[in-house]
Symmetry: C2
């Protein structure tokens, strides 16, 4: 197998094959995984296509895609049953439907796969050892369906099985080394998250950086209320230029931007805590554990996250966090006073150096004229610099005079359904906690005075 | 808008538009959601295609797909920025690049959207009120990007925005009613969840029901460790026959099956609590709030879910739940004794009638020979019948003699990465809680004695 040497930058198309994908029974995640892997190997993916287990449709898709991409990777349709038609479709294109041949290596792999599991091989599985004469087998060490490698005209075609745990090792072992271009322009990609600002306002902060055709390229996408900023640099020094661009973008969108690559607001907050020797506790009402869940999703969070309370009932808020029943009676559980008392209680009782609290109306019911659905109060209590894990802020001991204990709260009205209100409330609480540590302050998109 | 009346069964293609999808930055879930919705409306989806934010590629895809499908639905590319090109591509095809017109309804919707949120509309957003002369606007009540409806030859084309929470309501309100074929066979579809058993073992419990071609059709799919059972009945009495089939499947797979339609293990557990007048609290270590988050994701959960503790640190387990430091010193925080003490403490301190607790090694680090990564102990404490909300089980008052307080714990080894271990641990805890209330008992797939 030789490595590609082309003057044009190679392009790839991904073809997913299967009724279950077209009908929506199964969510296809292979296309995304392949795109990421190919892009990192220096190959631009230009299209994904998904077709049924229909031989004519598969043949047509291979032919069209091979006509304009230098690499086509298909997934699926390599199993032993009658609706697995990828092998036959490829055979029709490259060998004009000539009889297929049994591949000795594929047959041996199949037999040892079944033998190793103490299972008898059904006769039908032998179909998986067949290949078109002009195709080469790609061995599958994780399952029974070998892949196929072939050429359609100038286009290299790789047919891989559908299950990701079989497909990915084959991709890495055989496909990527074969298609990685020699001397491909270096591509460096960076992602920066932002939260608390709308996509168009963020675009205004980024200004001319987002002009199409600029190098490095800067773009935005919104997902789960997080607006991500993508930076792609190409050519010499790509990595250094991408890093520089990210730093400049981060400055341009401060304080909304956070982290990079796969960072979440939660992981960025944990890093800030670690860098500053701070520890954190939470007191959650309407988010009901979501903030804790986001923080503990990150390995190593126990360094700085001590834990918290899910005080869903008022009795829990009072008994477990020491919220004065009068506060709830006078102001309600969704109030500035309640979240401030919750944050103070969580901080003092956990011994954390600061705490965040949330109480709101997640909906769809429970709203009122005063506090419509989506109304959420977020409280923060800072025990002050010098009060760390194990040091109760309640004593006031060790608190520097320039950083005395302080509590504040902010009110939001998050639009959307219950899950969106909760998600936005949790992420806003994390962003506010981050700003607290960094001494930053800015309006949040959904804030209501 | 007239309803489709064609002799051929209508077919649909789905076109997803966006660099982030082709490059793999974002996983496209719209294709799947559209396939399911269209299929239920009686329209077969025959292809999904995903192209870049490239006008020529979008134009080519619309033209090709409109050539062989009766309906094309696109998602994405309707935003206000320069890389949102769906509107321009459609205009090129249907109006030969003629100047677009501002739509009065779209403009009014945009203005009221921003006004309702107290936000100023950026000038760039006005682009979203533009439409090709021959296209019609589809109103978007959940966001700023209106959709477009038009025809390319005999094919009906609908362009919807990318965010699912905007796209789905527009699909349901305007697209499905317009494309649903007259006289399509009645289809009733039901889904039943199951948890704690493998897909092939479940298939054995379902037996001949799963035979291909049977009516109603019964199939299974696994996702997020939940194995779902799909029942599809067609023709006269479809709804009644589907309901009957679901009840029979539920009996066949007891006690693993739960709920139906959109029920989760959490919502089923809450229903069981409500039906029995029981209240619940949680004590979470490695799941860190995930169980609370799953429970409070459901509206109305405050009826029976009182709250809980995220005792991530050992100090929190001791101070907040009363776990004896000797227990942790002797047995470790991941032990039968620790989770039993956590569940007892959570139950007694919250006044709930029962409590569940979790402590484990979510990984990737922290494993040992004795307790490898994935080891999770789950504890349950039942205050006994008669002990309800507000009644402290600690007093023993009101506990019927035939249902005294009891505590037990089970050990699991969940395979998979950190997020999968946590997800499986949380769902297992909810399933065990459900079985406790129902007096059921069965092995769980990942149990280790």
């Amino acid at each position: 197998m030789t490595t590609m040497q082309e003057s044009q930058p190679p392009t790839a198309c991904i073809l997913s094959i299967g009724d279950e994908l077209v009908l929506g029974t199964t969510l296809d995640t292979n296309g995304r995984a392949l795109s990421i892997a190919l892009r990192e190997a220096g190959i631009d993916v230009i299209e994904h296509r998904t077709v049924r287990d229909d031989r004519a449709a598969i043949v047509a898709a291979f032919r069209v895609l091979a006509g304009y991409a230098s690499v086509v990777i298909s997934t699926g349709g390599l199993g032993p049953t009658d609706d697995d038609l990828t092998r036959d479709a490829l055979n029709q294109i490259i060998d004009d439907d000539a009889p297929q041949v049994e591949d000795a290596v594929a047959r041996a792999d199949l037999e040892s796969w079944f033998a190793g599991r103490g299972r008898a091989m059904a006769a039908i599985n032998l179909r998986q050892a067949m290949r078109p004469r002009s195709a080469r087998i790609i061995r599958n060490l994780e399952g029974t369906a070998p892949g196929l490698a072939a050429s359609i005209g100038a286009c290299r075609v790789f047919c891989l099985p559908g299950p990701p745990r079989e497909m990915i090792p084959m991709l890495e072992a055989e496909v990527l080394p074969a298609v990685r271009p020699v001397g491909a322009p270096m591509i460096a990609k960076r992602t920066l998250g932002s939260f608390g600002i709308g996509e168009s306002a963020l675009a205004e902060m980024l200004g001319a950086r987002m002009t199409r055709g600029r190098e490095p390229a800067v773009g935005t996408t919104a997902s789960g209320s997080v607006v991500s900023i993508q930076v792609v640099a190409r050519g010499a020094d790509a990595a250094a230029r991408a890093d520089r661009e990210v730093a400049e973008c981060m400055a341009a969108v401060a304080p909304y931007g956070f982290g990079s690559v796969d960072a979440t607001i939660a992981s960025t907050l944990l890093d800030e805590c670690r860098a500053r020797g701070r520890t954190l506790a939470v007191a959650e009402s309407c988010t009901g554990g979501l903030i804790g869940s986001m923080l503990t999703a990150i390995s190593g969070s126990s360094d700085v996250f001590l834990g918290g309370w899910i005080t869903y009932s008022n009795a829990m808020k009072e008994a477990q966090l020491g919220v004065d029943p009068q506060v709830i009676a006078h102001h309600g559980a969704v109030s500035r006073e309640a979240v401030m008392a919750m944050a103070r209680g969580a901080c003092e009782r956990s011994g954390a150096s600061f705490a965040i609290s949330v109480s709101g109306v997640a909906g769809p019911s429970g709203g009122s004229l005063d506090k419509p659905v989506g109304t959420v109060w977020i409280g923060l209590h800072d025990a002050g610099v010098g009060a760390g894990a194990g040091v109760s802020a309640g004593t006031g001991a060790g608190v520097a005079t320039h950083a005395r204990p302080s509590t504040h709260a902010r009110r939001f009205e998050f639009p959307g359904a219950r899950d969106i209100v909760r998600d936005r409330a949790a992420k806003t609480a994390l962003q506010l906690a981050r700003w607290l540590l960094r001494g930053e302050h800015a309006p949040i998109l959904w804030e209501r005075a």
